[in-house]
Subunit: 406 residues, 2 copies
Amino acid sequence: MLYSKSFIKTKRETPRGVNSINQALLERGSFIYQVGSGIFSYLPLGYRVYEKVRQIIVEELSSIGCEEVALPILHPAELWKKTGRFDEIGDELFKIGGNEPEFVLAMTHEEVVTPLAKIKIQSAADLPFSLNQISKKIRNEVRPRGGLIRLKEFNMQDAYSFHATEEQLDQTFTDFVGAYKKIFERTGIKAIMTEASDPGIMGGSDSKEFMVINPAGEARVLICPKCNRAYAFENAPKNNKCPEDNESLKEEKGIELAHIFKLGTKYSEKFDLSFTDSDGKTQPVLMGCYGIGLDRLIAAVVEESHDEAGIIWPKEIAPFAAYLIDLEGSQGKKVYDELTNKGLEILFDDRDVSAGVKFADADLLGIPIRLTISSKTLEQESIELKKRSEKETKLVKLSAINEILK
Amino acid sequence: MLYSKSFIKTKRETPRGVNSINQALLERGSFIYQVGSGIFSYLPLGYRVYEKVRQIIVEELSSIGCEEVALPILHPAELWKKTGRFDEIGDELFKIGGNEPEFVLAMTHEEVVTPLAKIKIQSAADLPFSLNQISKKIRNEVRPRGGLIRLKEFNMQDAYSFHATEEQLDQTFTDFVGAYKKIFERTGIKAIMTEASDPGIMGGSDSKEFMVINPAGEARVLICPKCNRAYAFENAPKNNKCPEDNESLKEEKGIELAHIFKLGTKYSEKFDLSFTDSDGKTQPVLMGCYGIGLDRLIAAVVEESHDEAGIIWPKEIAPFAAYLIDLEGSQGKKVYDELTNKGLEILFDDRDVSAGVKFADADLLGIPIRLTISSKTLEQESIELKKRSEKETKLVKLSAINEILK
């Protein structure tokens, strides 16, 4: 991508009224644009990051056999009345249509996915399976905050699993824990899993959260300094001591990235989602659900990985592989074309602005590698390479760049 | 994909109350699931088709330099009051929040994308550019109909372009016409472009529709039998004669697939979206917008491409490349693994059901190629190949399948 042809427009200063680090850096880098309180657009640069995160999630969930679906946002109100959540949830659930609301807007999808699963399930042989979607959720959040951390409209991966036995549910739960760990590893975030957490409006028998310990978080989490086990504050041991080694737990703030639930039969009973067992008896299906907030994950990466100059994107979710600057003034386009033709995603700063402006933008945008051409580097048929996460620069042969960026 | 592990569950009969061909076949094949009137879920099989359509659109719009963004669905009502459409549109626009609605649900995105474009545009040098998104739209459609043709919640590609001059707008309009033609060609649909059409609530100086002539459509279109030019009914020549050759126009029904608009300065003036020209004068930005209905495109493909036995998917948007049946009973999994390892998308019907049931499902699901293994074909180290669109079968060497499916 040529900078001059892109939608990128950086800002030196933090926009007024913005006091969240992720929002400040993402807005300054033109990754996102605020439409209203808790409502954002992803601009082209931010959408590239979003798409990479989405792709990682799709790959990892596909690898545990989870098929993708697309569920609607506009839900008939009667489905939510059936589970009781129409009244239970209160104002946070957007209701549409005056005094007798005909629809609600999806903040989660049990009410839609449970009846849908009926078309597949007759006997135990049809179980287990799981369905995944990545889609918008809308919630009448009274206090949106923290940039992309707490939103009115947000993007979630939410998967739902269906089982004949507790053992099947346990196995799928374990599979998802494994997949989620890989997802967080690939997106470059140090997530910890809590031992148990408050299931809230979801209900069910067991739930676990994935958190990143960070001051921008709003979740309270208790950590054992000895064994590193983490406990959600609401479900922590009563004496605030680790049940494993009796150490006093230390309170930290965490950003909640994901939440997984063993729902049991709560929803299947409401919608008569059942199967016939080997004795010919009708049994309710056991369910699980598994969600990651994509916007919040992106926010958490920025909160965790930045310095005073800007963002430092982990490699797999960076919008581009390298940021190319040509101080010499004639070879940049040629190098850009060569690298681009090799399938590398390069952002070439072809603007007629000072070197200082280019270096500052390279730091702000946080592309993992900066490549700089100068007459000095060209003399040695090389290019200067600097990792965004490191201070040192080194000279690399032009012919070797391809291998390095892979 | 193994049929036994998939979410596929076909029905022999058309569900009660369904009188649309696309809905009947898509529901019978478990591509879609109806959640409410005008509200559907895509099941895994349908989602595969949807994703292929989406990918084609992204590729073709990227090739004309259109960058992708993600805009919200929940729009602050004040944005729609600013353009006047909050009152103009009436009940079709979902308004949320009682007597003083705070939000509307997006049925189009001019109100969000126009202010957003301000962050990039200062001088004429920042123009032209275009932004694309593929996202949900929600509309309080009173009479949803025709399966996926007219929905309350639907998926649209909508792009917006920004220009300094009429010439730039004309050029982008031409680029989009070219991209749209390629998109329809790749999705296997015979789309025609009308000469001009009613811009409706969008406004602007010029608009064109892409239609497929089909009895399931609800648009009236007039075609010149001599030169094949098409005219939207509302904007047709007054005497119903072709202005080119004076032939009497023939009325047909069409499914509207896409609509493109030269919006001019309608929205940029409302939001003060302007640039400074070379004389230092402030000028309003010229805009265009370009939309394809993805669900409707899928519906149109099914309406156009089916027979009494089921759907006939065009190759590029088929959920799988081939449907594999093993009558011999021992070699299927091996052939499946071989083809899958070569990166081919194969649906292997590994169920313990009769050959007749398998052949019927293969026809209903409409996978372009059916591959059948029998002891007879194995004797010749071959496999029986039948195209879904043809009656004949032929024997193909196992070693050659890879090439054929590519």
